[in-house]
């Protein structure tokens, strides 16, 4: 397995690289620059880094103003604060005028671990997907995070980048090129399609391996862009596999699974199961224990795959 790296760490490193190439890039923080790894940017570009203190709403408004004057601000904090605390600022100051603000939201999901429910964003994708003009991306690993940062800077408009706390394995293939709005088939298969994002991509791949030993050929898609969703790929996978499982470290309300269910319900209905957090808050614990407690494991993905296969309609 390749070296593990937290997506938040790749984010911080990518910003430094980006900052060297593009003087318009500025970074804002709300007293968490060591946790979001934007302290790396602050060290190299102290005049282009603004620590706004523990005041996230103001941070988002300041980011809007910087963007309106031609800068490319990356505003960073934990996902819970970036979305819930600042929702109205994201809505009115940033998304309504479609300003060029990039939100780097770290410590998303329950893999935050011991800090518990107050710090575990399990509904951030739901909030962000509901905002017109917002692009929502969940990189699965370090290399994809780096590319997503550059892609965000290259495209005008607000972006939400969902980043994680713990180190994660590399799941994207060598030479992979991130394209916003495009899912990537990591593993071909014809019996069931597993559509995953973030840390659940690795679990989906492990589940596919487990299913393979039972003779079930599972396709695995890294659906890193939640919005706009890759509808063409989704419909193709549903048509080819006739059964779909989604997997995300997020509530099944309003995230990847909900988006996939909505698209397939309209475009190509097939048996579907959503692996995710079942409308609950998180809690304290070790990340791996929490993943087991909330059913975010390869075994659960494989179980969901068998369930949808059993409900398949004959061709």
């Amino acid at each position: 397995m390749n070296a593990r790296e937290a997506t938040r760490a790749s984010y911080g490193a990518a910003l430094v690289e980006l900052g060297r190439q593009d003087p318009r890039v500025v970074v804002l923080d709300a007293d968490l620059s060591k946790s979001t790894y934007t302290s790396l940017f602050a060290r190299e570009f102290p005049h282009r880094h603004f620590n706004m203190g523990i005041a996230e709403q103001n941070m988002m408004g300041v980011a809007a103003g910087l963007a309106s004057a031609g800068k490319i601000p990356f505003a960073s904090t934990f996902a819970v604060f970036a979305t819930g605390r600042c929702f109205d600022q994201l809505r009115v100051s940033i998304c309504y005028p479609a300003l060029n603000v990039k939100i780097g939201a770290s410590h998303a999901g329950i893999t935050v671990g011991e800090d518990g429910a107050s710090h575990q964003a399990v509904e951030d994708l739901a909030l962000m997907c509901a905002l017109p003009n917002m692009t929502v991306v969940v990189p699965a690993d370090g290399p994809e995070t780096r590319q997503a940062v550059f892609a965000a800077a290259a495209q005008a408009g607000p972006w939400y980048l969902r980043l994680g706390r713990p180190p994660v394995p590399v799941v994207t293939p060598p030479g992979y090129r991130f394209q916003v709005g495009r899912g990537c088939v990591l593993r071909e298969g014809s019996d069931v399609a597993i559509i995953a994002c973030g840390v659940m991509v690795a679990e989906a791949l492990a589940a596919a391996g487990e299913l393979d030993r039972e003779g079930i050929r599972a396709a695995v898609v890294n659906m890193s862009t939640i919005k706009p969703l890759d509808v063409d790929l989704l419909v193709r996978m549903a048509r080819e596999c006739r059964a779909v499982v989604t997997a995300e470290e997020h509530s099944v309300v309003g995230g990847l699974g909900a988006a996939v269910a909505a698209v397939l319900g309209e475009e190509y209905p097939v048996p579907l199961r959503r692996v995710g957090i079942q409308d609950r808050f998180g809690q304290s614990g070790k990340p791996e224990d929490l993943m087991a407690e909330y059913g975010l494991t390869a075994a659960e993905v494989a179980r969901a795959a068998r369930a949808v296969i059993s409900r398949k309609r004959p061709r």
Partner: protein, 279 residues
Amino acid sequence: MHAHEPRVGEDELARVARRVRRHIVRMIAGAGSGHPGGSLSCADILVTLYFRVLRVDPRRPQWPDRDRFVLSKGHACPALYAVLAERGFFPLDELWTLRRLGSSLQGHPDMRKTPGVEASTGSLGQGLSVGLGMALAGRLDGAPWRVYVLLGDGEIQEGQVWEAAMAAAHYGVDNLTAILDWNGLQIDGPNDEVMTVRPVADKWRAFGWEVTEIDGHRFDEILEALRWARSVRGKPAIILARTVKGRGVSFMEGQVDWHGKAPSPAQAEQALAELEGEA
């Protein structure tokens, strides 16, 4: 400085302000909804800014070196629209489309729809942060332009205003000027009854700002205060402008009920007649 800055005297400012007030009444009466009280209270401040102070070019609303004005109390946008139209950003005829489907003049400011509008506002408390971001960008670039933000007095009950106030002082921005439209009234009643904002000057000083207080309907005081604000170095400045809600229309002045209510056709007629006669 540049070719497009009009140099008009106080008599002309008064004439423009009277036209702007008439536009406000007609726009809101025509739309059947809107916020006359707070639009009329800030009209003189906006006229002074756009006709004497702001370096803007109506033919190039996106001119990079323009001064920026953010109407944080977005519900007063009829005043801003009227001033922008008078200043030539768009034809006066567009004013009568306020709040209609497809209009460039939304019920609250939309920077993507209206030439000259610099920020989308309407949810109170957000404009000072946006203005601070602009000011920081201008400072990074060594740009000559300045940022002005108009706040409502009820609006400063929003916590985000004080987050922005703290940050502006922390970063020592002196290319940012805030103006408080201090008419003393908000939807549910006087500030002092709904949620006391006093002592206003002491609060801003405690947050690290330079503060001055003026009569927000006297052009000489507004001009002098804006000159003073430009001279402040190393910190942000705020002008506390004492105003009268509904200023210029006798039956609206100081009346909280005219915060967000359109005049009837008869009331509009009376208001327009009063504004015709005013000196």
